[in-house]
Amino acid sequence: MSSLVAHRKAINRRPVGVRVSFQLVQPATPEEAVRLLAGASAGQMSVLGGGTDLLIDIDQARASPRQVLSLRKMPWRYLRWEGSSLVVGSTLPLRTLELDRRVQQQLPGLWEAIRDVGSPALRARATLGGNVGRCSPASDLLPMLIALDARVRILGPSGVREHPVDLVLQESRKTNLGPAELIESLIFPSAAPSTYMWQRVQPVNDISQVGVATAYLPDAPHWRIALGGLQPRARRLSEAEAVLRSARPTHLEQELAAQEAARRAEFVSDKRATESYRRRLVAVMVRRALQTTIDRMPRPAAARKPSR
């Protein structure tokens, strides 16, 4: 046989764009939804929030559920402030958060991260719950959720549990949610000066090569730095945070934190950027994001604009 003959293989994968069939179930209450999920056989039922990821996954043969459980009728499209903490129902469209003045003022980093997801029409469907459930390493929201110490309220057969988002996320398409559990809401414990910055080839509707979220929380440790664009998921960089010892760290401290972040982040190379470029970006962007966050802290002097 000629050395050119490497192997034989058959087409066994569905080509992109196949419109598969599945059964859509639309439970009327959270309890019914949990019951349906609990009764489904493993891997056969997918949960549909806004659909902006799942439907593409189905089209491109990355998911092929027999049944799709819709959250459309869940009473979770709400946004409410409880004191200075914000509670967001998991199926509230991102667009509603984006258009909310108070969100923009009190959680500027969250607002920026939301604003950077897809396009307005996409944000009309995409949800916070969907972003957490999908756990995409490229998500622009997850680093900000981590930096803001958001908590996830999870509803399941044995009731409700609540965890920091950092403990819920695992890897792409994987969280610690049980098979019959659903994300009911997200809780942002407090308003916080915060910033989300990214680097992309294209400003709009592109995947960020790196996303940097910084926040200054009322509770210690005050400074939070989280990164997106790395595998297996967005993560907090406590080593870099530890460099920052005051509400207004010096330029040197900011620079050191940025260097530490660049050193600690485990990046990979892919079609969107190489590992070394991502590392370089982190060093620059953490510094810029920290400065912007400092500028956003309440103080008499006029705030500077973000230097993107």
Binding site: P15, V18, R19, Q60, V201, V204, D206, K271, A273
Partner: protein, 731 residues
């Protein structure tokens, strides 16, 4: 004046290829190869045939059964009989009652393939510039070599030799509307309705691929949701027709975006080496070495190289040159035209090179270009006289704007200039048929307006200017290839410039006929209360009174015009190998751009843009300006973000719009459009074509602005932040 198609398009009222529908229609899906190079060992279509809703399944074995004379050894055969040449190449097709059924059946086809070695990159084929023996390399499908003057002598005695290598990436047209068509057999005639730039070219091409007489094939264009070169010759139409033969029903085929990217006929990567010899501050000689990826093309593919290579000398006087290029076959879909095919890429290399050379010589980049710029009656590299050419005028205008921009320019910003040259109004010619009716003029057309306005506005304006009719009294009527007059299509910046001449002749014939009838030396037309009036001196007569009963019955006074172009010549003695091509009209572009470079991340922001465009005569100024704005922004995509990324085994990594990044509304900078008139082209009233020229200098202008801002040159397109960061040695 508003375009007549604008409002119906905005309402969503017009039928595009994707909208086509016919009673009893089936939907088609393609079975595509999982490997980039291989041999089909076995394909089992029986399973797919039994699936729900499936009416017809056709594969390589069915081709000759259904169409005994189908062509097999063509660049795009309907199906490869044996050898698969690129990943995603269609190997079978399915027609079913619904699209979902067709896709499911296509997915169920099991194809057993023996994998062969994949040649995905030209650098792997020729890591170094090939030796003379390379012409025999099986990957070489085209070889062009031209030489003139004492090149070696001039390089030997040069004061300075400037040598650089540039690389460019594959870019896709991405017309928003994917390819879509509907095929059916009516009374033994093959009928195809399709979204195409070239109904007549398509008829010739599809007939030859299917092995049927052209007379048995009818092509009718739908409205076209963008072409940019991608909707020309036979592509998806043969599959729809083959399935129509097999099923006996109308068949609709529309590509998905993933298929658009994986099957598309696009610009492919290239490596360009340029050496320029300088004496006394002037360019005296150039060597050009071009390796162009032409994908799964067949031998004889020297057109792409032969046409491109001249642009690597630029619109500049060059006493001596040696230019050589190879078209190389790789396991990608065959190379195809994309708005000024390969010119933005070759001009990126050349104009970056010239710019760097000027800086090296301490010369002003605009002045340096002006010194060498072609003027009318200079000779091209192939010794063709240069026609009226607005390059020098464009450079002078650009210099004035650059001086204004230069004052108070912030740190980190840079200004870049680049020139482009293009031959417009090309093509195999065309004919026009006009009908003057009592209530207005009808222009019968085979090709639909594809978007740029050249049909719906351009042709009408020509008739309007000859006859004096108001725009609302002129209507374009679209026919099919059986009823409409021949034209070679909407491409090559030729519709107004070339077909417009046929319309002009027909309109003049009408005018002459009417002048004779009223016994006046000349007439013009106007309308009153919806009636066409023939005006001679002070006399106004209703057209309807001047028509014979036969003319009235036939739908009006008919006139014809033809334009098959003038033969241009090149000096063949300068061509050692392959074919080079003469130019038609000479259209110049001079572009200026200001960028802001983030020196920490490599991100480029476009601050403002100015395009000085030699258009001959702007017969329809708003439409011409629109072409310039559109071309510039499309060019910014090529410059900054658009890039097809293939793996070494020939898989496209970004077959979709998430990672193949098009400019969006916030990416469009303020664009100052300055039309340079007075250097007349051969088109009506001195018009030159404008579809392609505005995209050509854009990537080079941006690269030169980045070099101006940072002192660093980027040698590869597109200038993504990471490439700029690497050039800036940030990592």
């Amino acid at each position: 004046m508003m375009r007549s198609d604008a409002e119906p398009k905005a309402r969503g009222a017009l039928e595009y290829g994707t909208d086509l529908e016919a009673p009893g229609m089936l939907w088609a899906a393609l079975v595509r190869s999982p490997v980039a190079h291989g041999r089909i060992v076995h394909m089992d279509l029986a399973g797919a045939r039994k699936m729900p809703g499936v009416v017809a399944v056709v594969g390589p074995d069915d081709l000759r059964t259904l169409l005994p004379k189908a062509a097999l050894e063509v660049e795009r055969p309907v199906f490869p009989l044996q050898e698969i040449r690129y990943r995603g190449e269609p190997v079978a097709a399915v027609a079913a009652e619904t699209l979902a059924q067709a896709r499911r059946a296509a997915a169920a086809v099991a194809v057993e393939v023996e994998s062969l070695r994949v040649d995905a990159r030209i650098e792997d084929i020729f890591p170094e510039w090939p030796s003379a023996a390379a012409a025999d390399d099986p990957h070489v499908v085209g070889h062009v070599h031209a030489r003139h003057g004492d090149v070696d002598g001039k390089f030997r005695t040069a004061e300075l030799v400037h040598s650089e290598t540039y690389r460019t990436s594959g870019v896709h047209q991405v017309a928003l509307e994917p390819h879509a068509c509907l095929g059916e057999i009516r009374d033994g005639t093959f009928c195809i309705r399709t979204s195409t730039q070239t109904p007549f070219g398509l008829r010739e091409d599809v007939a030859s691929v299917l092995g049927i007489p052209e007379a048995k094939l009818l092509v009718e264009g739908s409205w076209v949701g963008g072409g940019f070169g991608g909707k020309g010759s036979a592509f998806i139409e043969p599959y729809a027709l083959l399935l129509a033969v097999a099923s006996g029903r109308p068949v609709k085929l529309a590509l998905t975006y993933a298929e658009e990217f994986e099957l598309g006929r696009t610009t492919l990567p290239a490596v360009i080496r340029l050496d320029t010899a300088v004496a006394r501050g002037r360019i005296v000689a150039r060597r050009v070495r071009l390796l162009l990826d032409t994908g799964a093309s067949l031998p004889g593919r020297d057109f792409a190289v032969g046409y491109s290579i001249g642009f690597l000398l630029g619109p500049y006087r060059t006493e001596a040159y040696d230019i050589e290029g190879y078209a190389l076959r790789t396991n990608k879909p065959p190379f195809g035209p994309h708005r000024a095919p390969f010119a933005p890429q070759s001009v990126f290399a050349l104009e970056s090179h010239i710019d760097g050379l000027a800086r090296r010589l301490g010369a002003d980049p605009i002045e340096f270009r002006k010194i060498h710029a072609w003027r009318e009656n200079d000779r091209t590299a192939y010794d063709q006289p240069v026609g009226p050419f607005g390059l020098e005028a464009g450079l002078e205008a650009a210099a004035r704007t650059a001086a204004v921009w230069r004052t108070g320019i912030p740190a980190g910003h840079g200004i870049g200039v680049a020139c482009g040259f293009w031959s417009t109004g090309v093509g195999a010619g065309g004919e026009a048929r006009l009908f003057l009716q009592p209530d207005g003029l009808v222009i019968l057309e085979g090709e639909r307006e594809i978007g740029n306005g050249s049909v719906v506005r351009g042709l009408s304006v020509v008739a309007q200017r000859v006859l004096g009719l108001p725009a609302n009294a002129i209507r374009i009527q679209y026919g099919d290839t059986a009823t409409a007059p021949f034209d070679s299509g909407v491409y090559g910046s030729r519709t107004l410039a070339a077909l417009g001449q046929a319309v002009e002749k027909a309109a003049r014939a009408l005018e002459k006929t009417l002048a004779t009838r009223v016994g006046a030396p000349q007439v013009r037309l106007e309308t009153k209360n919806g009636q066409v009036l023939v005006v001679s001196g002070r006399r106004r007569q209703k057209l309807v009174d001047l028509l014979t009963p036969a003319e009235r019955a036939a739908g009006g006074l008919e006139a014809h015009g033809k334009h098959y172009g003038a033969e241009k010549k090149v000096d063949a003695s300068r061509v050692l190998e392959g074919t080079v091509y003469p130019y038609n009209d000479f259209a110049a572009s001079v572009h200026l751009v200001e960028v802001a470079v983030d020196r920490e991340t490599g991100h480029i922001g476009i601050v403002r843009y100015a395009a000085f465009q030699d258009v001959g005569t702007a017969v329809d100024r708003p439409a011409v300006e629109a072409q310039v704005e559109g071309g510039v922004v499309m060019g910014l995509g090529t410059a900054l973000s658009e890039e097809m990324m293939w793996t070494p085994d020939g898989r496209l990594l970004n077959p979709g719009l998430l990672d193949y990044r098009l400019p969006r509304i916030r990416d469009a900078p303020p664009i100052h459009v300055d039309l340079i008139e007075g250097f007349a082209g051969a088109g009506p009233f001195g018009a030159k074509g404008i579809g392609e020229p505005p995209i050509i200098p854009v990537p080079a202008a941006v690269a030169n602005a980045v070099a101006d801002a940072t002192g660093t040159r980027v040698f590869e397109l597109p200038l993504t932040p990471e490439r700029v960061a690497r050039a800036l040695k940030l990592l």
